[in-house]
């Protein structure tokens, strides 16, 4: 009996030792530094008295959401707030399910420039050729990537991250968009195993296959070879990591994702998939319209890219006006046609064509929703600053708020088969929540909190946008300017240089090789003025305005009349 007790004791010690050894052998990347957040004092959070959008079209008014240990434990209007909960008074706030980024390269480092390959370019190593279907995104994932915080600030809490390059790029997985806590291994952020194999029509640089047609040939060959190897299984199949990695896809156990960032690539990807007898998920197309028929017929799941084309203002093509500075003759005007932008009909037609193309891209999501084609949204190739604005553009172009929310939550959850984990604000789901101060797709609405695995992230007020900064950027006069105009002394055109010493400006004008010193050089706002003396002893006064690298103004004091001068700043 005693021996048994001792044995039990020993066994327990052995197990404990083994467990701790196992724990220590796990990687601790990301979770050990000083900068790593401490674990919160409580893992229980209650959002009280909030408007809760449980799922698209299902709303609870004045409800409380309780979160514990990374899961939602209760949602309802009469839920008690647990004693240990951090209480967030969410009166007047709205709670949505966290967004799922259905295709992302956040935390996936761009490949370093490979060393110059000096071997036979016709048969490079497969890694160099981009044939890496066995590459696992989790192995190189960097949870400290700034992109992750940017995605989270836009409401994304879960992302399907994928390897970046190569024709068989590798395998993707679902990751929670938060920093690992102290002592937590980075691998703990992944909420799934491998869920995808990603293919791209991408040529390798300088080696075989260097072209899209080469990449597709290699892709087809690899798949066909893996198929034959499966058929011949049992015979002495040699070790072939590529064929092994493709087996799951061929068997239909692992979804096959094909990146296509324009409709033409989409057509190519769909045909190649058909020929390889694989069912693809198409990721990255902005305007999916030309593919709609095929997508519906073959029931191809689609992930649209949030990277919309930049908007174009109606007056985007107007040249800087040729302004007449105060004090000069109002009649003085340049009358030449500088380029097509000075022709109103050309300007209008060109701008209209572009704006139509942009509007089509914006409306692609609405068109899919109307056609009842399920789709999700992916953020790869989208500027961090554009995430929320572009979402709002989709809605402005006709996508209903419910459909937009579904594309961010329930649709990707269905696509990834994680409906029990994510996509709605319901008991048992991961505590992935977005808390806003208004309707999600209204321009004035701000995201206040984002909860990822129950960890509360307060989203700071957005810093000034780039355009604000540009508006207030100081006008710079310094530089070398090339001008056109009949000054001085009958010489048409030359250069002038403006330089700055401390607070004062000075400069020289050079015409036909002769220098003229500038005096009274002054910059007031965007108005630049200076004087110089001609060989004839007259004082010429130059007055004008700077817009970017263009200066438009007049010269007075030459032959008693004001003449026009236009200058552009030379680069460098």
């Amino acid at each position: 009996m005693r021996r048994l007790a001792v044995l039990c004791c020993l066994l327990t010690v052995a197990i404990l030792a083994a467990t701790s050894a196992h724990a220590q052998s796990r990687p601790l990347s990301g979770g050990t530094g000083e900068e790593t957040p401490l674990r919160p004092a409580t893992r229980t959070v209650a959002l009280t008295n909030a408007r809760v959008v449980v799922a698209p079209g299902r709303v609870l008014e004045r409800a409380t959401v309780v979160v514990r240990d990374g899961r939602i434990v209760s949602v309802g209007s009469r839920e008690a707030v647990p004693f240990d909960a951090r209480r967030i008074a969410a009166d007047s706030l709205t709670v949505y399910a966290g967004f799922v980024d259905a295709f992302s390269t956040a935390g996936v480092a761009a490949p370093a420039d490979a060393e110059r390959y000096t071997g036979d370019p016709g048969s490079p190593p497969r890694e160099r050729a981009g044939v890496t279907p066995d590459r696992d995104v989790r192995a190189t994932f960097d949870a400290t990537d700034a992109r992750i915080a940017a995605l989270r600030a836009a409401g994304f809490t879960l992302a399907h991250v994928v390897p970046r390059d190569g024709l068989f790029s590798g395998r993707g997985a679902l990751v929670s968009l938060r920093a690992p806590e102290r002592g937590e291994p980075a691998g703990g952020l992944f909420v799934s195993g491998i869920i995808s194999l990603v293919a791209r029509i991408a040529g390798a640089r300088g080696v075989y296959p260097a072209t899209p047609m080469g990449a597709l040939a290699v892709m087809r060959g690899a798949v066909e070879n893996a198929r034959r190897r499966q058929d011949a299984r049992g015979a002495d199949a040699a070790f072939d990591p590529v064929a092994d990695a493709l087996d799951d896809v061929i068997a239909g156990d692992l979804p096959f994702w094909f990146v296509a960032d324009d409709p033409l690539t989409g057509f190519r990807a769909l045909r190649a998939s058909r020929e390889m007898d694989l069912s693809p998920i198409l990721a990255g197309v902005t305007d999916v319209r030309p593919l709609l028929e095929t997508i519906r017929a073959d029931r191809v799941p689609v992930v649209l890219s949030l990277a919309l084309p930049d908007t174009v203002a109606a007056d985007s093509l107007s040249l800087p006006p040729m302004r007449t500075p105060s004090g000069s003759l109002a009649a003085v005007r340049l009358r030449r046609t500088r380029d097509y932008r000075d022709v109103p009909a050309e300007r209008a037609a060109t701008t209209e064509t572009r704006r139509t193309a942009i509007a089509r891209a914006d409306a692609a999501a609405a068109m899919l929703a109307e056609a009842r084609v399920p789709f999700a949204l992916g953020t790869f190739a989208t500027d961090a600053d554009d995430l929320l604005p572009n979402l709002r553009r989709l809605v402005a172009a006709g996508l209903s708020a419910d459909d937009a929310l579904a594309a961010l939550t329930t649709q990707p959850a269905r696509l990834f088969d994680i409906e029990r984990l994510a996509g709605t604000v319901e008991e048992g789901r991961l505590a992935h929540l977005v808390v806003t101060d208004g309707p999600l797709f209204a321009d004035s609405t701000r995201i206040r909190y984002v909860l990822v695995d129950g960890v509360v992230h307060e989203i700071p007020r957005a810093s000034r946008t780039r355009s604000d900064a540009a508006d207030t950027a100081a006008v710079v006069a310094v530089g070398t300017w090339r001008y056109e105009g009949p000054v001085p002394d009958g010489v048409r055109g030359g250069t002038f240089v403006i330089s700055r010493a401390g607070a004062s400006l000075s400069g020289t004008l050079i015409a036909d090789g002769a220098p003229y010193a500038l005096s009274a050089v002054a910059l007031d706002g965007d108005a630049l003025s200076f004087d110089f003396t001609t060989l004839g002893g007259d004082t010429a006064r130059v007055r004008g305005t700077i817009d970017g690298d263009t200066f438009v103004g007049t010269v007075e004091g030459l032959d008693g009349a004001a003449v026009s001068i236009v200058a552009t700043r030379l680069p460098g």
């Binding site: 296959p209 040939a217 060109t350």
Partner: protein, 447 residues
């Protein structure tokens, strides 16, 4: 009555508005049309004055006089105009996203059909030159390039498959001489560096493919697992079996004779020599082999191996019984292939039919599609070009181009902006003023 008037106004309005590519029917559309009273160059059955051609559902249904249009079929007045089969360009690199997979001397596994770009506005320009079928080829960087593709210019589709000439035989690009030796030999220090190296590369590839196919067949016979799959060898084995027509970029008489010998040794008999500037020196030998030749009318001296050339090349080949064609190999020249054909009347005195055959039925034969296109005969595809005057006249211009009975170019309705896809990041569409000449197009992506 009022409604009818409105309807009529609407119809007239539609007929007279400028056409944009989005108005055009889908690529699978097959049109019906009656062209009346034109001078019809049938190519194979002489020239018919004031004849009618009836097109039904994309095929030529009748050629004769006094034909009437069935109800609902549009009639085009061809009085004073000339109708010929749509022009066929046997050598083009138009509408492709990439041309050369130049990294390996043998890339038989790549296929141009994977990189067809139906949005290339050059397609519309070629249609405006009466061209209806093009043979888009792999470049000339490698002794054995990829598989080419025969396309119909069904402008207006975004689906690259919409352009495929369904049922056209597979063809493949070979290349001899300076281009492959420059890319691999001089460029990389690899074989082939010489003309004999090119020949040896081809012979070794054929031999390897022969062994590959033999091993495959032996495995099937003995019910053993098949050896590893190799697309490069699969294609080459198909070439050896005669299932893929070879189009070999070649210039010099000696290298062409050597290739004929290599092909005899491996039992391949369908061959078209592309460029073939010195073919006039060995025309009887080419005729005896049964090979075709697709040449320029008067384009040479852009590199050393093309100095010894003659504007009489096409005529000499024709007189020696070689089925010769004239090609453009150029996105610009493709618009005026009928001028190229006319040059053979100045240099060599070919008859009208002989000259027009160089851009119609002969290239069709070289591509293995002469049962479908290349002449105006009942039952053939309704690929037609309607000219304002005799197409061999310098004053002729193309009024209308028809593919599968569908009008895809109409000079009377030529819209300003023919872009199929607008890139909103461009303020104005990028226009390439120079498309480069033949020698460059052939080596696109090679360096």
């Amino acid at each position: 009555m009022m409604h009818r008037l409105l309807l009529l106004a609407a119809l007239v309005g539609v007929a007279s508005t400028a056409q944009t590519p989005s108005d055009l029917p889908p690529p699978n559309a097959r049109g019906s049309l009656l062209i009346r009273g034109a001078t019809v160059h049938t190519i194979t059955q002489g020239t018919l004055e004031r004849a009618d051609v009836l097109v039904r559902d994309g095929r030529i249904a009748a050629v004769g006089t006094g034909l009437t249009a069935p109800a609902g079929v549009r009639t085009v007045d061809g009085t004073g105009r000339h109708l010929m089969p749509g022009i066929i360009d046997a050598h083009s690199h138009l509408a492709l996203s990439s041309v050369n997979e130049a990294t390996n001397p043998v890339v038989a596994e790549v296929q141009m059909r994977d990189v067809v770009d139906p949005t290339d506005v050059g397609i519309y320009r070629a249609l405006a030159g009466g061209v209806t079928t093009i043979h888009v080829m792999h470049g000339s960087a490698n002794p054995i390039g990829g598989e080419n593709e025969t396309l119909k210019l069904r402008w207006g589709t975004l689906d690259p498959d919409g352009l495929l000439f369904e049922g056209a035989p597979r063809t493949i690009k070979f290349a001899l001489g300076e281009n492959p030796t420059r890319v691999h030999g001089q460029g990389r220090g690899l074989r082939p560096a010489t003309r004999m190296g090119v020949d040896q590369t081809i012979r070794e590839a054929f031999t390897e493919a022969r062994i590959y196919r033999a091993e495959q067949e032996a495995a099937r016979r003995d019910r053993r697992p098949l050896p590893p799959y190799n697309r490069r060898m699969e294609t080459l084995a198909d070439v050896l079996a005669g299932d893929v027509l070879v189009h070999a970029h070649s210039y010099r008489a000696d290298e062409m004779l050597a290739l004929l010998q290599t092909f005899r040794d491996f039992g391949i008999d369908r061959l078209t020599l592309q460029h073939a500037n010195e073919a006039f020196k060995i025309a009887p030998e080419i005729a005896a082999f049964g090979a075709g030749a697709s040449v320029f009318s008067d384009w040479w001296a852009y590199k050393f191996e093309v100095y010894y050339s003659s504007a009489y090349n096409a005529a000499i080949l024709t007189r020696n019984g070689v089925r010769a064609s004239l090609n453009s190999d150029d996105d610009g020249m493709i618009r005026t292939l009928y001028h190229e054909a006319a040059k053979t009347q100045r240099y060599g005195g070919l008859t009208d039919d002989e000259a027009l055959a160089l851009i119609t039925i002969h290239p069709a034969w070289q591509l293995g599609i002469d049962d479908r296109v290349g002449s105006i005969e009942v039952g053939k595809d309704a690929d037609l070009a309607l000219f304002s005057a005799d197409p061999l006249s310098i004053y002729a211009r193309v009024d209308m181009t028809v593919v599968d009975g569908v009008v895809r170019f109409d000079a009377a309705r030529d819209g300003d902006d023919q872009r199929l896809v607008v890139d909103p990041s461009e303020a104005v569409p990028l226009v390439r003023l120079s498309t480069g000449h033949a020698a460059d197009a052939c080596l696109r992506d090679a360096f």
